[in-house]
């Protein structure tokens, strides 16, 4: 819909041009209690935030703590909101923006099923070797590869496998951790 132009609307600066969306990886330390994941996911869906990747697992059994790693995209104000809204949840202990600290490692694991014969099969194995993917299951006409790495690397591998007979893949989502001696 076009802006209605009239004298009362023109002497103000136009609405700020949309700031660039950023991609962030957040690490969220939570009590491992029933419903905590639903709180986090409900927050994202209820407030219209994006989830690009989500990984959850208990990390400290004695303290009943889980770590949720969320990759999200949004404008800077939205990213700031996401962090504060997460911190507001009662079972959330800490939220760390791993992208902001700039010193974080991100890895993803994928299990990839490829089906093919003859040259395609040879080529798939050769590429798997180049990407350091391990063969964890094989039949005479298929492989299952296990591949670990950054999201980009896995994406790239999947693109290469597509013409060689990619059947399906299962990915864990991103696990991330900050470099250096300090904990979260």
């Amino acid at each position: 819909m076009n802006m209605t132009v009239n004298p009362t609307t023109t002497h103000y600066p136009a609405a700020p041009v949309d700031e660039r969306e950023q991609r962030r990886t957040l690490s969220v330390l939570v009590d491992n209690e029933p419903g905590v994941l639903a709180r986090v996911i409900g927050l994202f869906s209820g407030r219209g935030y994006n989830i690009d990747s989500l990984t959850v697992s208990e990390t400290e059994h004695e303290k009943h703590l889980s770590r949720i790693t969320i990759a999200t995209t949004g404008k800077p104000m939205v990213i700031e909101q996401i962090k504060h809204q997460l911190e507001r949840l009662v079972p959330v202990h800490r939220v760390v923006d791993l992208t902001e600290s700039g010193r974080a490692l991100e890895r993803e694991l994928a299990l990839i099923k490829v089906r093919g014969k003859g040259d395609n099969r040879v080529e798939a194995l050769r590429l798997a070797d180049a990407f350091r993917a391990r063969v964890i299951d094989a039949t005479t006409e298929s492989f299952i590869f296990e591949l670990t790495g950054k999201t980009d690397k896995i994406d790239q591998f999947l693109i290469l496998m597509e013409p060689l007979g990619l059947i399906e893949c299962s990915r864990t989502g991103i696990a991330a951790i900050a470099r250096g001696p300090e904990g979260m």
């Binding site: 909101q81 504060h84 507001r88």
Partner: protein, 586 residues
């Protein structure tokens, strides 16, 4: 003495130890053990409402007017779902309430049992926190934690869902001492460096303005006292949101009135033109800001809020201070006094001159009539005849609510209970029930519209049962007035479904409920009728028949800026004032 008791007994004991005197509720199958435990004690008085939504609103009114945490008990399934509107209302307006819901026995959860619903799932987005109790030995800790979470930090509603087998099971009770949560630790003290920066900015302001909200009231009466100190020693003007009315006395000359969509001319223009905005305990709601890119465009903004997620949510601020209003205000008053810098007297003098000119516009004026009661006149007379009494006001939602906010002048905090964030029609009557229980000797008036009040009218029965002499003052224009007003302004006067057809006779309705009914339709009779209403020591439904076509002004149309507000006497051009984009907004 053994600490061993049933879950139901724990609930009653925990409520009692939390200082709960009144529990608003409605019984049902899944809470019968708790009702049985209530029957056998005298500490906690149960108030039987007529609908669970009313229970939560009553608890809200109780909490807001007293500063305590409101308590509610409802059954599973429909009991819990009926409470959802009240929970959402309390969340939006930051009102501390604890709602205990019954649940089907643990082994039936997830089986679609009779009166089962996923209470924690349904209430997760409309509570500050919620619990499903799975072990009776956790119950007392969870209940005390629930009260702590509801009442501390930014207050809000907390739900505790208790399956019926847990209510019967025996376990160990622990008292309310040392409630500390592993991860929930609200920050009360503000960052001193930021507070100093805020004071430095305030000292060199030429056109400063305080913009305060419900956070001041939630922070406690101490915050209102400190706010008054700060406003006095600075000499700066102050405006407030709907939720913050009463924190600063309306009789004071530095008070500009409420701001926002139906705020005063002087408050909105001052907001638009200010160079330093000091926002304390308010959240830049869209009813306040109007068009965001034209919101106070030349100002530096200081924002004090206990909730970090309120900062930079809608409006980017220059100095954010995270902390409790009372704590931060105390530091601000001290640092202002100890700072040697002098404010720019000349610029401030000019600013006040400008404000005087805006004030002279008399934006709340309306055309008087001798034949028909103007709704503004009704509220004005209500104010004049109640201002010297110990009065508490609740409202429903709509035009009457805005007229009440404009024409009733609050001098003290906690005297004004209204549904701001959610805008819940039907809030006022049950809220008045709660307020009257908290203040049995005071005059409690629900300023209502005839449409809103019918949404929870059944609670008049609660008022009658407990002899709560609340006054329901209905501005009856036979329309959902605000809907009609928007249809007039935005939809070519096509009044689709906004006429209150087939209204009951409110006087007879009152009598049917064993309350007192009064009707008044002539301006000349109004004072006597209001006096009569105040005198009656029973619940009263006052049917005040007002002008059907009156609109609520001033008004900032949707999608417009503060300096584009429309005044009542210039309202002919209003159809053109809303842009196509504005029509998309609410």
């Amino acid at each position: 003495m053994s600490n061993e008791m049933t879950g139901a007994e724990m609930v009653v004991k925990a409520l009692s130890e939390q200082g709960v005197k009144h529990l608003f509720g409605y019984p049902g199958g899944a809470v019968l053990p708790i009702y049985d435990a209530l029957f056998q004690q005298k500490d906690v008085q149960h108030i039987l409402v007529r609908h669970e939504q009313g229970a939560v609103h009553a608890a809200e009114g109780y909490a807001r007017s007293s500063g305590k945490v409101g308590a509610v008990l409802v059954t599973s399934g429909p009991g819990a779902t009926n409470a959802v509107t009240g929970l959402t209302d309390a969340l939006m307006d930051s009102i501390p309430v604890v709602v205990i819901t019954g649940q089907v026995p643990t082994h039936l959860i997830g089986n679609d049992a009779f009166q089962e619903c996923d209470t924690v799932g349904i209430t997760r987005p409309c509570t500050k926190h919620n619990y499903l109790v799975k072990d009776v030995n956790d119950l007392s800790r969870i209940l005390h934690e629930a009260f702590y979470i509801a009442g501390s930090g930014r207050p809000g509603p907390v739900v505790v869902d208790i399956p019926k087998d847990i209510q019967f099971a025996k376990g160990k009770y622990t008292g309310p001492k040392n409630v500390e949560h592993k991860s929930y630790k609200p920050k009360l003290k503000g960052d001193m460096a930021k507070i100093q920066a805020a004071i430095d900015l305030m000292k060199c302001a030429k056109r400063p303005l305080f913009y305060t909200g419900g956070g001041i009231i939630n922070s406690g009466n101490e915050a209102s006292v400190l706010l008054r100190d700060l406003v006095k020693i600075t000499g700066y003007p102050i405006t407030s949101t709907l939720m913050g009315l009463g924190a600063y006395p309306a009789a004071d000359p530095q008070w500009l009135g409420m701001l926002g969509m139906h705020g005063t001319y002087e408050a909105n223009w001052a907001m638009h033109d200010c160079d330093v905005m000091i926002c304390i305990g308010a959240r830049f709601d869209d009813r306040i800001t109007g068009r965001l890119d034209a919101f106070a465009p030349h100002s530096k903004k200081i924002h004090v809020d206990i909730d970090p997620s309120s900062i930079n949510k809608n409006v980017k601020v220059d100095i954010p201070i995270i902390g409790d209003c009372a704590h931060v205000l105390e530091d601000m008053v001290r640092l202002w006094r100890s700072s040697s810098a002098q404010p720019d007297k000349k610029a401030l003098g000019e600013w006040w001159e400008q404000i005087k000119k805006w004030r002279a516009r008399k934006s709340l004026a309306y055309k008087k009539s001798n034949d028909v009661i103007k709704p503004q006149y009704a509220v004005e007379r209500l104010y004049e005849l109640t201002k010297d009494r110990d009065t508490y006001i609740t409202t429903e939602v709509g035009q009457h609510q805005m007229w009440a906010a404009q024409h009733l002048h609050f001098q003290e905090p906690r005297r004004w209970m209204t549904s701001g964030g959610l805008g819940t029609m039907g809030y006022g009557l049950p809220a008045a029930v709660g307020v009257q229980l908290a203040h049995p000797k005071s005059l409690v008036i629900d300023v209502a519209g005839e449409a809103s009040v019918l949404m929870t009218m059944q609670e008049i029965s609660t008022a009658v049962q407990y002899r709560l002499p609340i006054k329901i003052f209905i501005l009856n224009n036979e329309y959902m007035g605000m809907v009609r007003q928007w249809q007039e302004l935005l939809h070519g006067g096509r009044y689709s479904e906004s006429y209150s057809a087939a209204l009951p006779d409110f006087v007879k309705l009152a009598e049917a409920y064993h309350a007192v009914g009064i009707r008044c339709a002539r301006p000349g009779d109004l004072d006597a009728a209001i006096k009569e209403m105040i005198k009656v020591d029973k619940p009263v439904i006052f049917d005040c028949v007002v002008d059907k076509n009156e609109n609520c002004f001033p008004m900032i149309p949707s999608g417009r800026a503060h300096n584009e507000m429309i005044l009542g006497d210039a309202a002919e051009s209003i159809g053109d004032a809303v842009t196509e984009e504005g029509k998309m907004l609410v």
